[in-house]
Symmetry: C2
Subunit: 146 residues, 2 copies
DNA sequence: TTATATGCAAAAGCTTTGCATGGGT
DNA sequence: ACCCATGCAAAGCTTTTGCATATAA
């Protein structure tokens, strides 16, 4: 995990969730801290609930919705139809490679890909507000495996 | 819709689904024909069921699963978590722009984007088996709107 | 004290499965 | 006649919602 990103994100969340008429409860604190620690790549509500046995499903879903609304997390729906979340941070921007063998997502970033997406948007006459890329494949052996 | 793609796809489906121990029932015929006609871009099971009041949900889901297994359709999970399908055809390859205003998907293809994705895969040492791109944005007025 | 965050339980919605029946071949 | 495809109904799962309670401010 990236401490700089985690800390900045926690600050943003604190700001967004400390207005008048807002309170910090146990569930909220626990979920936010978990996301900062482990939410930099695709965490589902069930995975969160498993790690936080004291939090209720309703609180977790409600909070995730709230963070989504505030733009503090991104949400994706995987091949299994389950929603997965990760913290939103410009410096943490990345896409996902799904390993054909293990099925697990591997984050990656690529400048050329970003440029290509911007070029597409320009060609289509679209002001870009978001984009996601998923690539699937099998990693070629690179000789470092055991 | 593209007749050439629809016809070729129908042929492929017929071949794949006519082996020994397979039969064509009413539901299968109706769903396959509907997909060929209107399934070139993101159709959900519910939309199919609405258009085919005589087909049962179980038949529709079972058939879509079967086509998915055979690689004859692609499946996506949209922001609402609902599975949407479209026919798989190399010549019909495209990605999706989600209009921020209407929420509806607009298909597009872009050679530069494909090249960028291949470059990423090469850099990551991955043999590509699939990829999806979704971009979101607001279409700029081009002066042709009413 | 007061209103918000929480948890429980029930409900909702999409999708899957079991099983008896109908219909292709 | 065989047995696959279908439809119905029930179940499964994730996610949402209603409501009473606990709790932060």
């Amino acid at each position: 995990m990236d401490h700089a990103i985690a800390d900045r994100w926690l600050t943003q969340v604190d700001e967004a969730l400390s207005g008048p008429g807002r309170r910090a409860g146990a569930a909220r604190t626990a979920v936010v801290e978990l996301l900062a620690r482990e939410g930099q790549c695709l965490l589902s509500a069930h995975e969160i609930l498993r790690r936080l046995p004291n939090a209720s499903a309703s609180s977790v879903y409600r909070l995730l919705d709230e963070l989504l609304e505030l733009g503090l997390v991104h949400r994706f729906h995987g091949d299994d139809g389950v929603a997965r979340y990760e913290i939103a941070d410009p410096d943490g921007h990345h896409h996902h490679l799904i390993d054909d063998v293990t099925g697990s997502p591997i984050p990656f970033a690529d400048h050329g890909l970003e440029l290509a997406i911007e070029a597409v948007a320009a060609r289509l006459g679209v002001r870009l507000t978001g984009h996601e890329v998923v690539i699937r494949g099998k990693r070629r052996s690179n000789g470092t495996e055991s």
